[in-house]
Symmetry: D2
Subunit: 318 residues, 4 copies
């Protein structure tokens, strides 16, 4: 598939999405998110050669929310390695993103790092040797490196809003602290977590940030300093496939067939191993809390490119 | 990778597995399974050219148990198409294979077709226009076609044993009938289900039976009469990835990175799309009810071949 | 309070109940129950001197359903004593009468003998040394003794209907059998259970049958042969208070303040220790599955007589 | 029964309890409670004439913990009446005192006011028109009136300790705030709740404080100014019977047969309507979190006095 062919596919999809009447429902539990227009849609693809293609509103920034869980997990694996699995599981939860029920029967160990409770534990792990401010700063720097863009920053209004109204997350944090699976003061750990979620990115930046996941952990052609080993990269992709869309993960795998991670602001990062890093964004959500048009766009993209990891065809290497 | 190289890998793995001291625990809830020796291990690979390679006890037959759920789902998709999703979900359950809890809160709709409740509904769907005996006969014939081996048959002792002691399955069936999600007498539907599970196969036959899943739904080079469409085949693989190992599905995806389906008799069918159909068998199970050595063997195979669907390398088409 | 005063109270209540517009909803899951008219209402009181007072439709028979759980528990305590608590708990379930969820986390041990699962275990205990037919016959004889009325019999249409459609009960029985907490074939245990539930009684007979619970276990002035010891009688009353109305038990205690046991056919047996045995019946149920008008009538009766066990006044001893 | 006879019974029980080897387990989740000696035991009875009888360590103070839930519910009923039931249920929970699971499925409405979540909502209701400090001060004054003892005060070390380590309660508060069933800042509501629990009383004071529950809501022979109406008093007793001992409520009703409320510091307040208010204290707990020796002592007291509310005998008005 040529760049032109792919660009045409993206343009077609953007036109089709613009025409969709049902645009999903914008999340309202974080007040600043509630006023974003559901009419927006953008999609960016970066291929294995670093070539970027976009269609739609790909320069509009949004807080990446739960997509940050992929990056914080990456940082935690770099920092403490596989020992982090002592404190968080690797199984789909079968529950919504903010469910607390599972924690009671499983003694404060979250099912996986991609639901809120799991990502809060990851934040707590990252705080082992530094303050929340330093950790947030390190995270932003890490994202600068992944994107090559030093303009990225936290949307402080969003972070503050979550701090003021994120009662369920405070409940999760306190509950896990009762099981001694949070080691820092709950408000410190959540401060870190909320700032991770509040990083502001657009589709172009996000697709760029996902490139190491496409390329076996490598950031560039200089393979001497990978972000992650090839094995750990594969494992993150496996978690994205089984757990990346909360209790809609099975549905996403069924319809799209790519490892992906969604956020309530309407973004999805999806990876075609060895082939492409894809960022899509549209603020309206479906019943599972995943971008309605974003999922639909990815489904069409995969249909037209044959990019499912479950595809038998050789065209995957494009 | 040459056939010789691959054969060497298989031989090495068989030797390594023979040396493992911890062999897992043989399932004892179905009496005839309890007396199988955990010392056995076999692995067979059939590649995209139909070439078969084996190591270990690959000609010893075992009842395929839950692996049958892949084949019955295939038959149901052929028979009624996507309408079957009205009666069964597509999400990982986060629960053991025989859990009944989820059914209460979700009104008798099983989470997915690969847990017992879901496969019982699939059996019920297949009974729409025929008797249990005819349906079982059709299933055996379908498996004859997939394997090209007309000697395959039901292990009647195993089927009878489940009928006599499968109380949890009777509980699941009756419970779903109360929600009107089972339409036939519970014992008739379960008779069908138990016989599906009791089909006796060895690794060589099982790997052959999985070939249509490797090759986009095609049974042979004559592509005019596929078992399933390419799209439905991908979708079954997605379900195997997210739900194929009960509440150990995330772990399997993390360690192995292939769509797979396990059974309590110790078999696993794993698929490398476009590349290979793999059957592995060792009767001892891990804590999640999946073959302990089978999982370990697949993990090593993937490490040595690079066959994870999450691998960025081009060698996958090897 | 004189007999005349009490009769007037009953007559008033019957008139008030006849005037109620909202009559609750008749249970429809057992087909023969569905066609009973919700316009019926009856109430009978038998006092500690054996004097009986009635108002309304107290000679219309109905299957006593779950009220039978009090009598089968009594028989089981007579038969095996406190050892029965090894197989069933004594705590309110916080769940509907037919919930199966609790059984999964608590290994097949029902919360209490007054939910379906618990009463099925009680039936199984009673089958230890005899056939289902003999046991049912013993139960009917026991009820003849309690009521002094040899005309009582099982409503076979109701028993057969439950056998044909009681899928949830078959699910509960099979599920507990999987945990080895049912020792007989599930259909045999359920045959017994369904027949217990299908005993046909009217309010006059039911109030009479409850007299031993009012009088410390004594059936008559001849105290040499009690039905139960005084201590066990108190304990059954405690269970009726905490568990007698499924997940509406707290509400009943709050509004009525008497130990009671309801059934889905609309009957309630309530006991004023030392003072009165009360049977009330009206087929329409409230949201918790307890008689809507029956509960209301008891609430008014207690208000006008001061008969709550939580009352501080001396009038309780009448 | 004469005062002397009753005193002898209490003395005997105190001697028997002193000889018990198994003394239960002292709660350790609130640090200051962990160092209390389990060798202590005290019991005080105040009868309907105001006569007080004691045996054992009845002048040793302890923080009353969850027993405070009876008093805060009383204050809330006085303040807002039955409307409080819009925000908290009246059913046994079937769960431990600090369970959060039920809140998820029931939208943040606690099952009853005697589990932690319910009492936190009651605290929030009481804060409607005043600061936390004022409310705590009002509560202490209310307890002064009930006991006639102005020396009662909050154990500030205990209150501070709960504030510092009560992570589960912070989880419950935040979780209910997410459902909008907590209206004040969570730390303010919990400050109030923790202070209620930290009130320091001895058995003599506690038995005195319970007298209004024994006497239909009256504090003294001057009946013009009751603490509660007779009806509301009965209703609180009903809640104590069905919900007063967490998931051990059924067991307590079965063994003791009196409305009661326990606390994790080892106290129990039990009421014999019209007859006696009983306070018992021993710090070691049973598996359900209720005083091990306290429960045993009450069981023996009831056996020797016939004071169960389920007793048929007339001696109850003794």
């Amino acid at each position: 598939m040529t760049h032109d062919e792919l660009q045409t596919i993206l343009d077609d999809i953007a036109v089709e999405m613009a025409a969709e009447v049902n645009r999903g429902t914008v999340a309202d539990y974080i007040p600043p998110l509630a006023c974003v227009s559901p009419n927006q849609f953008g999609i960016t693809i970066v291929d294995s050669h670093g070539h970027s293609m976009s269609a739609g509103d790909t320069d509009v920034s949004f807080s990446i929310q739960s997509i940050s869980k992929v990056f914080s997990l990456t940082m935690a694996l770099r920092s403490v390695g596989e020992t982090l699995w002592d404190r968080v599981g690797r199984e789909p939860s079968g529950s919504p993103f903010n469910s607390i029920v599972q924690l009671e029967s499983e003694q404060g160990i979250p099912r996986n790092p991609f639901i809120n409770s799991g990502a809060i534990v990851i934040s707590d792990i990252l705080l082992a040797n530094q303050t929340s401010d330093d950790m947030i700063s390190d995270y932003v720097k890490f994202m600068h490196i992944l994107t090559g863009d030093e303009s990225l920053k936290i949307d402080q209004e969003v972070a503050d809003s979550e701090k003021a109204t994120g009662y369920r997350n405070f409940a999760l944090g306190n509950y896990m602290r009762a099981f001694k699976n949070i080691n820092h003061p709950v408000d410190v750990t959540l401060e870190t977590y909320f700032n991770f979620c509040a990083l502001s990115m657009n589709c172009q930046q996000l697709a760029k940030a996902g490139c190491y996941l496409m390329s076996g952990g490598q950031l560039s052609s200089d393979t001497s300093n990978p972000v992650l080993s090839e094995e750990r990269t594969r494992r993150i992709l496996a978690l994205m496939m089984t757990c990346g869309h909360y209790d809609g993960s099975g549905e996403f795998a069924y319809r799209v067939g790519l490892p992906g991670k969604s956020g309530v602001s309407g973004g999805i990062l999806a990876i075609v191993p060895g082939v492409a890093s894809i960022a899509v964004w549209s603020p309206g959500l479906n019943a599972r809390g995943n971008s309605h048009l974003g999922t639909m766009a990815l489904e069409r993209l995969v249909k037209r490119t044959g990019w499912s990891v479950f595809s038998a065809s050789d065209e995957i290497s494009g």
